[in-house]
Amino acid sequence: MNERNERIFGVSCTFRRPSDVYRAAEEVRDAGWTRWDVHTPYPIHGLDQAMGLPRSSLPRLTLLGGVTGFIIGCLLTWYMNSYDYPLIVGGKPFWSVIYPFPVLYECTILFAAFGTFFGQFVFNRLPRHHHPLFDLPQFARVSDDTFMVVLEARDPQFRLDDARGFLQSLGGQEITVIRD
């Protein structure tokens, strides 16, 4: 079983306490793994650093959304009140950035929120209703009070027996091979 088996998704083990999984994450990181994850019922403070994850680049999509929203707001108000059907109301200019500012402001926020919300789904590759992890009986407890480390078979240094032994050395319980 030392060969990489394509039908295996990975190996998992569980921990009962956040401090244990935190230490385990640091060791997996230091062993140079790249395709792995820690599944937790709540976001553990500092686990990103323990896993060596970079800061999420989601803010770029938020900025992109916000800028898009502002431009859409400008185009919308300019086209409707100045270009397609110019109206004189209250002696105000046909278009300026001042009078429709509340509209531009709201459009900016709306599209920035769209960028953030949909960006979160794109970055997290969701929705995905089928995943090999969902077949594990102990995975159901991860949303409750269990912490799970998963080493994926896609990782270049994945060898099934070594991975199992490694998780054992970290003190993980319920070491399980996940079928794809």
């Binding site: 401090s19 019922p41 709540y42 994850l53 459009c107 929120a113």
Partner: protein, 469 residues
């Protein structure tokens, strides 16, 4: 849920010499409850057989909601003349109710966004229900301007959509700004609410026994797996949405107040309106949060997660914002006196001593005097009393909008065009029914969605800290 990045590493040297006393922080989850207890408690609400109180309350709520249905059906089939609107008061209960419900919603966003940015961890256990309240309150609010347009089948003209007359919305109007503000507010609040719920929906999915429950919650949970790579993006999205909702919520009631302040009616044309409206909105919203959460806490025995500390904090916010509102009332009088404008002066004397003085003094006693009782701990610990005071606050805040809207319109410039406005039975039915509509939605939320954000509550327990052991 935002990270606060490790602050313990940069420890100033002086701390070793002076050895400051550790001030105990109030624990947010009492009785040392574990993760499993929290999951069981919150999922249990959804999983238990429908309790009898829920069925009875739901039927009552449906019955009350039908009043709105009847009121609106009569209005649409007959015309807006069935409301009490006539010259000089062209804005009656509809705008009062609209501002009232929008204001209620603001506390939800304050709790979910502003308190998140301020790292007020106590917000976690009331966050979800308060956000739900926001969304349902905005839905109730939306009914009024929608039907106030008269021919409701043309209400889509409010939006910048091409229509057969080839005309567009007029963006110099505060009413059009309102359309954008309220629809953005509703959309962003709903996205924020739903996104925060995804991990908890995953938790309900993982415990589901029946196939329909599994299918329903799987669909809603979007395949959430709780991997830290997902949490990392999720937390960032949460923080960003909190950061976006904060200027949004402040802008919404600001723009709502522009509906009044941009006009030149005496008593409306004041620059104090935006901050005064926002403070009032938070004031009434927190009162509504307590009105809803205190019974729920008792019914579901949530005393360990919604403790006296939470109630205290909310009471203190009501006290603070209530005092701000009282200060704003006083400022309005001062500015009116100082303005040298006889119409402005008259508008305020007329509010306090004119034909609507009864409404003014209901407003002052409910909004300024009642919340002052929250200075006393004995009052804050007596939850029946807290609940009653919150009802008073809500009544008072409804009257605030009534006073602002009606008194200024009924007696503006020329005494020959003054009038006295009273609502009709159709107005009363429509407004009364919105409480039922709101309750129907809120009861459905309580029954089918996670009432407390489990992941966030787990995060604030002492055992959640990986460095504690």
């Amino acid at each position: 849920m935002a990270h606060d990045h490790d602050s313990s590493s940069a420890r100033p040297a002086v701390l070793d010499r002076v050895r400051p006393a550790e001030l105990p922080r109030p624990s947010l989850v009492l009785n040392d409850r574990g993760f499993h207890w929290i999951t069981d408690k919150v999922c249990g609400i959804v999983e238990e057989p429908t309790p009898r109180w829920w069925k009875v309350t739901f039927l009552v709520a449906l019955f009350v909601a039908s009043f709105t249905g009847v009121g609106l059906a009569y209005l649409v089939s007959t015309g807006t003349g069935t409301w009490g609107l006539r010259a000089p008061v062209g804005w009656g209960w509809a705008i009062v109710n609209f501002v009232f419900w929008i204001g209620i919603g603001h506390a939800g966003t304050l709790i979910s966004a502003i308190l998140c940015l301020l790292r007020q961890k106590w917000r976690t256990s009331i966050n979800r229900a308060a956000e739900a309240m926001t969304i349902f309150a905005v839905m109730c609010a939306g009914i009024f301007p929608l039907f106030h347009v008269g021919r409701v089948w043309f209400a889509w003209w409010l939006f910048p959509l091409p229509n057969q007359n080839a005309i567009w919305p007029q963006f110099r109007s505060p009413l059009e700004w309102d359309v954008f503000a309220v629809s953005t507010y509703f959309t962003v609040s709903a996205l924020f609410w739903y996104m925060g719920m995804i991990p908890d929906l995953g938790a309900i999915r993982d415990r589901a026994r029946t196939w329909w429950r599994k299918a329903f919650y799987s669909l809603l949970a979007m395949g959430w797996r709780g991997g830290n790579r997902q949490w990392s993006n999720f937390e960032m999205a949460y923080l960003l949405l909190a950061g976006l909702s904060t200027p949004l919520v402040l802008s919404v009631h600001t723009i709502v107040s522009f509906d009044f302040a941009v006009s030149n009616v005496p008593g409306w044309h004041t620059t104090i309106f935006p901050p005064y409206f926002v403070a009032g909105a938070i004031f009434s919203g927190f009162a509504m949060v307590l009105t809803l959460m205190l019974p729920l806490r008792a019914v579901y025995r949530l005393h360990d997660v919604i403790s006296q500390y939470h109630v205290d904090n909310m009471c203190k916010i009501i006290l603070a914002t209530g005092t701000m509102v009282g200060y704003a009332y006083a400022t309005e009088f001062f500015i009116a006196a100082y303005s040298g404008n006889p119409y402005e002066k008259f508008a305020f004397i007329n509010r306090a001593f004119g034909q609507y003085a009864w409404a003014y003094w209901i407003m002052v006693s409910c909004n300024v005097i009642t919340p002052q009782l929250f200075w006393f701990r004995k009052v804050r610990e007596n939850h029946s009393l807290v609940w009653i005071i919150c009802l008073f606050v809500n009544v008072g805040m409804w009257f605030e909008r009534f006073v602002i809207t009606i008194t200024s319109l009924a007696n503006d410039y020329l005494p020959s065009s003054w009038g006295y406005y009273s609502p009709t039975i159709v107005d009363i039915f429509t407004f009364f029914g919105t409480f039922g509509f709101f309750s129907v939605l809120f009861l459905l939320f309580v029954r089918f969605l996670p009432l407390l954000p489990m992941a966030e509550v787990k995060m604030v327990t002492p055992q959640a800290n990986p460095h504690a052991h």
